[in-house]
């Protein structure tokens, strides 16, 4: 599928190529909107195209996002590892893929997830949440404050 980003086979994906920016590929379709939210894409003013339920040999179905004129830091990229660990980022310059970046799970996750423990101080005081990643597969987060460990089914994005 990635050949479409080089501009040689644009018919496979029914979305436009971008001149310069980032393509986030191999997003699980059910988590597309979570990725948009985590990366604050709703606040970006450049052109954004996203599509979902594309056929994928590896994933069955996948979603992707193309963001014109925006490049992300590794820290920003890693934030989406919680919901799209298999995602790949393609950095585009002059319609060509110049770099492919995998997503890696960070050691800490700050400010994007709510603690699922209703009795945690972060749900009562104005405290930025912080979690330590204690397991990668399946991903498990330990709240820095109340020390409760939670798995993906408990993730609530802020």
């Amino acid at each position: 599928m990635s050949c479409s980003h080089s501009g040689k086979d644009k018919t496979q994906l029914q979305v436009n190529a971008i001149r310069e920016g980032t393509v986030i590929d191999h997003i699980p379709p059910q988590n597309l909107f979570k990725v948009i939210s985590i990366l604050n894409l709703h606040k970006i003013t450049t052109q954004i195209t996203f599509g979902t339920n594309f056929d994928s040999q590896r994933m069955g179905k996948k979603a992707l996002i193309k963001i014109e004129g925006v490049f992300f830091t590794q820290e920003e990229i890693n934030k989406i590892a919680l919901v799209a660990p298999s995602a790949k980022l393609n950095l585009i310059k002059n319609y060509e893929v110049v770099q492919k970046l995998p997503v890696s799970i960070p050691d800490k996750v700050s400010g994007i997830i709510k603690c699922y423990n209703p009795n945690c101080v972060t749900n009562h005081e104005k405290v930025t949440t912080l979690f330590h990643v204690v397991e990668n597969h399946p991903i498990m987060l330990k709240c820095h404050f109340c020390e409760k460990v939670m798995t993906e089914e408990h993730f609530i994005f802020i």
Partner: protein, 336 residues
């Protein structure tokens, strides 16, 4: 034969223990330096060696608990949730060392009733004292406080999360009664799901090659995350719903209260509450060195008859808290 074996084992344990404590005492200066101005929120905030150092200091305080080490020092005890034993134990520890105490014992007498945030309370109080001892009903409150306070925080319980000074006094009690912390068999009974003391004690004692026995009603079994933690460390644990099952194996029987509010079905509570009562006759075939611990308060889970038994240690355990808290406070304030 059993008695001879017990005496022999006890002597060996004491020799080993003296050696282990000598080692930490030799390195005392570096531990004292390391602990100064550190908060104690979770038992894992102190390393194994630092925990042993605190226990060795507690031993010294037990020999001589009245000293003027905290002259001109002010300790704030902020109890956002009521507590009798823990607060009095801390306040007694400070008073016997010549320190002053400020604070409150009930949230109703604090500015929280006016809507003040925890952040503001801690920021203000930390201007007035050298150390804050706090108990709070929210989990994570002590960690949060430690990150905004100008002075160190000692967690005296944050919701169902941590109570590290209780854990260290439990360790000290185990050490005093068994002569060692290594290779022991600990039977935990009662509410193993919500009880913060059993979770912290499990974490602490897992550093010493402990074998654990968990006895509880099905609703209150030890959570999976703690069992996984033991499995990762390759430590053995056994589970049962019958209190008689493992009592003969144990060096320590750690009793906890089964709380009514933990049951979704009141009938189930009524059926269960009398199953986990420790009675004198159940102690007949227990090991000679076995001792019964309980973080207290007790309701009915240990029959009052047991109080007079030589294996009942829970009241002495509470007294040990005084020395352990003296050791912790003086280490953090850097006066020892």
């Amino acid at each position: 034969m059993d008695k001879i074996k017990f005496i022999h084992t006890t002597i060996l344990r004491k020799v080993y223990l003296c050696y282990a404590f000598e080692c930490v005492k030799n390195a005392a200066n570096s531990f004292a330096m390391n602990l100064k101005n550190r908060s104690l929120v979770s038992i894992t905030d102190f390393s194994k060696e630092e925990q042993l150092y605190i226990l060795s200091l507690a031993q010294d305080f037990e020999k001589n608990p009245v000293r003027n080490l905290l002259e001109n020092r002010v300790v704030a005890t902020l109890f956002f949730e009521p507590s009798t034993r823990t607060r009095l134990s801390f306040e007694s520890a400070v008073s016997r060392l010549g320190g002053k105490i400020i604070g409150f014992s009930d949230v109703a007498s604090s500015s929280m009733t006016k809507g003040e945030t925890l952040k503001d309370t801690i920021k203000i109080v930390s201007n007035y004292c050298d150390l804050i001892v706090m108990r709070h009903y929210l989990e994570g409150a002590a960690r949060y406080a430690s990150e905004i306070s100008l002075v160190p925080i000692v967690n005296a319980g944050d919701g169902a999360n941590q109570h590290p000074t209780q854990t260290m006094l439990d360790m000290y009690s185990i050490y005093k009664t068994q002569g060692t912390l290594d290779n022991l068999k600990i039977l935990m009974v009662g509410d193993l799901k919500y009880g913060r003391t059993v979770h912290s004690l499990l974490m602490a004692m897992s550093q010493f090659n402990t074998t654990f026995y968990f006895v509880s009603p099905k609703e209150l079994m030890m959570p999976e995350e703690y069992k996984l933690y033991l499995e990762k460390l390759k430590l053995s644990y056994y589970e049962h719903t019958d209190l008689n099952e493992y009592i003969g194996e144990a060096d320590i029987v750690y009793m906890t209260r089964v709380q009514k509010e933990r049951f979704s079905d009141p009938l189930e509570y009524e059926k269960t509450k009398n199953v986990y009562i420790l009675r004198s006759e159940m102690l007949k075939n227990t090991k000679p060195n076995m001792r019964i611990l309980h973080p207290l308060p007790r309701v009915n889970e240990i029959d009052v008859e047991v109080d007079e038994h030589e294996k009942a240690y829970y009241f002495a355990q509470a007294q040990n808290g005084l020395y352990v808290r003296q050791a912790i406070i003086t280490s953090i304030l850097g006066v020892i």
